[in-house]
Symmetry: C2
Subunit: 513 residues, 2 copies
C-alpha cells in the first residue's frame, strides 16, 4: 500500500468519505488511489475557493469534516479566503495540500513555495507528513480538525510520501471532549438572570442547534431574558415552530441600539460583540455603556452542557409550546429585496437549507421566514464574500434529500461562480437566487459611514457593476446550469415555484435595480 | 491631506499611475481619494486573482510597476496565486492591502487576520504603514518592488492610517542599481566559449529583451554556441527578424535530451535548470551528466552589462543580418493545436503581445510564430494556472495601441475568467483564444509519468471537464465580451481574422476534442 492509499484509508476509518478536490501533478497518486478505493467520493471543483467553501458547507450540515485536495501553495492560496470563512465558522476541515517531493523542494522549481507558512494563516494545525508517520499525521490532523470547536487542520503531503510505501492506516481517533464550563461562570449568569434586571443571551455555535434553542427558549420563558444571535452564524436551526431569536444588526450603531438598556449581556458559545469594521469616532465594541458582559461559554467550550446546567439552576425545565408555522402571501408587482423575501417565505419547502450571502438585499429573506417550515440558515461567517455558492454546494452534498437555496448578491457571487459547474456535474438540488443590483451596494453605504463623504463619479464607478452588466443567465448556462431571469415579483414567484418543484441546480437572476 | 491622498500622491511621484483594484470597506478612503486625484487610473476587477495577474502583466509590458488595492487578508489570499506567478516572473508589483484600523485589530472582528504573515509568502518586502511615516513607507515599498530584479512588495495600510492626517507625499525614489557581474564569472564563460567545445547560453530575464538577444546573437555567431531560453519566461521579444532562441522543453527527459552533448551550459539571467515536478526515479536537475554549469549572471544581476562585457571579450561586436519575416499559410480542415498555431502565424499583426497559457495545446502557436512580425511573448511563469487572462488584461492597459492575444487552455481559464469583465469594461483590445479540449490534459499526461499507471474511470473522471461541457461563448457574453465558437480550422481562421481586424475584447472558443 502506498502513502496515498494509507492516507485515504485513514480518512475513511474516521468516517471522512467526501473529498472536494482540485488536484495537480503532485497529487496524481492521491487521484490514482481513488480508482482503487471507491468508498471515498471525490468532488471535482474548478477553482480552489469552491473546494474550501464546499468543505465548509459540508461540515456545517454533516457535522463532520470533509477533506480537501489542493495543489501546492498557489492552490492553497486560492482556497485561503473560504478557509478564512470556515475558520470563523468553526467548521472542521481536513485540508490536504500536495507538495513537491521532499528532495525536489530545495531546487526552487517554479511552483515551490512555503506551504506551511501559508497554511498557518488560516489553520489551527499544520503538519507536513512524512513517509513513516503518514497515517499518524493524518489521524492527528483529523483530531485537530475536530478540536477547539472545529477548525481548519492542514496536512501537507509531499509527492514522494504519497507515491512511496505507506504505513498501515490509522484507526479512528477520538477528539478531546469540549471543556466543561466552570460552575462559577454558570453561577454568575444564574444570578444575573434571577435579578429581574434586563438581560439577554447572545448566542452562536451549538446554542443555535435544535437542542440549544430549546433550552434557551425555556430560560427565556422562565426569566424574561431576550434571545439574540450573532449577526453571522455558521448555522442556525429555524422555523417549524422552533424558538425564535433576534439577530444582532450588522451596522454598529444599530447593534448598540439593540443592546442598549440591557443590564447584562450573557454570551453563549460566542464572545462579546464587536463591530465588523471600525469607523472614525464610533466605538468598535458593541457592548453599550452600563451593560455588563458575562460569558457563559466560549466557542470551544461545552455550550450545550452549560445551557443545560443554567436551565437546571433556574428551574427552567418546563416544556415550551411550539410556535406556529405560517406562510407568507405571494408577492406581486415590483421585484425588490422585500418581494424576494416574501416569495421565499411563501414557497420555502420543509427542511430547506439556506446559504445566505444576500448582502444588503438579504435582510428581508431572513426576517420574513422566521415562521416558515423547519429549515437551517447558513451565514457568511468570516466576511470574505464568495462563500455562498460553494457553501451551498457542500451542503447539498451533505444533505442530498434537502432542497438548498442560495441567496447571493451579484458582486459576491462573481468570486466563486465556478461552483455552478460542480452543482451541474453532481446534479445537486440547489436553487441559486442571484440578487442582481449591479453594484457593490454595501460599499456605497459604507463609503459615507467611514467618513469619506459622498462618492463622486470616479468613486461611484469603482463600486458599480453596471458597465458592463453581468448576465447571470448566460454565466449559469455556460456552466451547464438551467437559468432564468426575473424582473417582476410575479416572474420571480413563477420561477422560484418551478425551481423548488424541480430537482437539480437552477439559477434565478433577480433584477433589482 | 489625509493618508490615502498622501499615499496616492507618493505613487504618482514615482510614475505609478495605474491601480488594479478590488476594494472593500477598509479601503473606502483610498477610493475616495481617486475622486480628488484624477491622475491615478483605477481599474476595477471582480476578483483579486485578476487584480494581481493584471498588475503582473502590466509590469511586464510597461517595465514599471502598477499598484494593486486589495481588501484585507482574504482579498490578499485570492490574489496569492498570481502574486506567486509575478514573483517568479520578477515583476515589480506595489501590492497595497487595506487592513482594519489599528485599534480595531485586537478585537478579532470577523475579517481580522495576520496580513503580514500571508503577504510574506509571496513578497520580497512587507511593511505595515503608520500614520507618521506613510509616505516613506510607500516610497520604501516602491523601491523594494524595483529591487532584486523586480519583486512583489506589499504595503499594508490600516484604515485609520488612510483616513487620518497624512504626511507630505514622498518624492521619487531611486532603486539600487543591479549588481555588476564579477569579472571572473565573465572570464570563465569567455574561456568556455572560446574552447570550441559545445556550449549554450540558457537565458531568461533581461537576456530576452531586444538588446539582450542582439548581443547573444552576436556571441552565438562568433562562437557557435546555442541560444536557449528557459521554458517559462516573463517576456521574450521575438519575431520581426530578431535573433531566435530554442526553448527548453517542459518535460524533464526532453529537456535533458536537449542539453545532452553540451560541454558547458552558461546561465544568463537565470539559474541551472530544474524539472517542473519530481518524478519517481528521474533526476530533478536538468543538467546532463558531464555538462558543466557556469553562471554568467543571476536574475538580480546586471545581465545586459554582463552580456556586453562577454561580447567584448569575445570580440563578437559584429552586426548581425536580420532574419526574415515570413507568413504561414492559412490552415484548413481539422481544428487542432497545430491549425490554431498556423492561423496565428498567418494572421498575427505587427507588435502583438501574446499571453500564453496554452498548456498542452500551446506548443505549436509558439513554434510556428518564430518568423512572424515583431511581437512579445508572455509565459505562465510560476506554474499557477489562471494567469493568462489577467496578464493579457494588464498588458492591454500598459500597451493600448498593441493587439493582445491570449492563448488559454480551458481548465486554466476557469480560475480567473472574471478578467473578461474588466476587458469589456475597459474596452481592451484583447483577443482570447480558449483552447477547449474539455479536460485537464496535462494531468492525463502526468498521471502515468509520475508512475501512477493508467488512470481508471474514476481518476479519468477527475481530470475531465466534459460533464458538463463548459460553454465559453455563454461565459464571455455573460461578462459583456463578444464571443464565437470555432469547430473547424476554416471557422477559426474567419473568426480570428475578424477579431484581429476589429478592436475591443473578443473571445474565440476553439473546440479541440
Amino acid at each position: 500500500m502506498n502513502g496515498a492509499e494509507s492516507l485515504i484509508r485513514t480518512l475513511l476509518a474516521n468516517d471522512i468519505d467526501v473529498c472536494f478536490a482540485n488536484p495537480g501533478t503532485s497529487e496524481m497518486h492521491l487521484v490514482a488511489a481513488l480508482d482503487r478505493i471507491s468508498a471515498m467520493r471525490p468532488i471535482l471543483c474548478l477553482f480552489e475557493g469552491v473546494v474550501t467553501g464546499a468543505a465548509d458547507g459540508y461540515a456545517r450540515m454533516a457535522r463532520k469534516p470533509a477533506c480537501t485536495l489542493l495543489h501546492l501553495g498557489p492552490g492553497l492560496g486560492n482556497g485561503i479566503a473560504n478557509l478564512h470563512n470556515a475558520k470563523k465558522a468553526h467548521s472542521p476541515v481536513v485540508n490536504i495540500v500536495g507538495d513537491h517531493a521532499t528532495y525536489h523542494l530545495k531546487l526552487d522549481a517554479p511552483l515551490a513555495s512555503d506551504i506551511a507558512l501559508l497554511a498557518s494563516h488560516v489553520s489551527g494545525f499544520v503538519r507536513t507528513a512524512s513517509a513513516q508517520t503518514l497515517s499518524v499525521d493524518a489521524a492527528d490532523t483529523i483530531a485537530a480538525s475536530l478540536s477547539s470547536a472545529g477548525q481548519v487542520a492542514t496536512l501537507i503531503v509531499p509527492a514522494n510520501v504519497a507515491w512511496g510505501d505507506g504505513p498501515d492506516p490509522a484507526s479512528r481517533v477520538t477528539p478531546p471532549p469540549r471543556p466543561t464550563v466552570i460552575s462559577s461562570a454558570v453561577a454568575r449568569c444564574t444570578e444575573a438572570l434571577r435579578s429581574g434586571k434586563p438581560a439577554a443571551l447572545l448566542m452562536s455555535g451549538e446554542a443555535l442547534t435544535d437542542e440549544g434553542l430549546e433550552i434557551a427558549g425555556r430560560i427565556a420563558a422562565k426569566t424574561g431574558c431576550r434571545l439574540i444571535c450573532d449577526t453571522f452564524n455558521s448555522r442556525i436551526s429555524r422555523g417549524g415552530g422552533r424558538v425564535k431569536v433576534e439577530r444582532l444588526p450588522y451596522f454598529a450603531e444599530q447593534a448598540i441600539d439593540t443592546l442598549t438598556g440591557l443590564a447584562t449581556l450573557i454570551t453563549v458559545g460566542t464572545k462579546s460583540p464587536v463591530a465588523f469594521f471600525a469607523y472614525p469616532d464610533k466605538p468598535s465594541s458593541l457592548l453599550p455603556e452600563g451593560t455588563i458582559h458575562l460569558s457563559l461559554s466560549a466557542p470551544h467550550e461545552d455550550t450545550l452542557g452549560a445551557l443545560a446546567t443554567l436551565s437546571d439552576e433556574l428551574c427552567a425545565n418546563v416544556p415550551l409550546p411550539a410556535d406556529l408555522v405560517t406562510r407568507h402571501q405571494l408577492p406581486s408587482g415590483r421585484l425588490d429585496a422585500m418581494s424576494v423575501g416574501q416569495a421565499l417565505a411563501a414557497l420555502m419547502p420543509e427542511d430547506a437549507i439556506i446559504s445566505d450571502e444576500g448582502g444588503t438585499l438579504g435582510g428581508p429573506s431572513w426576517g420574513l421566514t422566521a415562521n416558515s417550515p423547519a429549515h437551517d440558515w447558513l451565514f457568511l461567517t468570516g466576511g470574505s464574500i464568495g462563500q455562498g455558492l460553494p457553501v451551498a454546494t457542500g451542503a447539498a452534498i451533505a444533505c442530498p434529500d434537502r432542497k438548498v437555496i442560495c441567496i447571493h448578491g451579484d458582486g459576491g457571487a462573481m468570486y466563486t461562480l465556478q461552483a455552478l459547474w460542480t452543482q451541474s456535474r453532481e446534479r445537486l438540488d440547489v436553487v441559486t437566487i442571484v440578487l442582481s443590483n449591479r453594484k457593490y451596494a454595501v460599499l456605497q453605504v459604507e463609503f459615507s459611514r467611514v467618513g469619506a463623504g459622498k462618492p463622486g463619479p470616479r468613486a461611484l464607478d469603482m463600486l458599480s457593476l453596471s458597465n458592463p452588466e453581468l448576465n447571470w443567465v448566460d454565466l449559469a448556462r455556460g456552466m451547464g446550469v438551467e437559468a432564468s431571469r426575473a424582473q417582476t415579483a410575479d416572474e420571480f414567484v413563477d420561477q422560484l415555484r418551478s425551481a423548488i418543484a424541480g430537482r437539480g441546480p437552477r439559477l434565478i437572476e433577480a433584477i433589482i435595480v
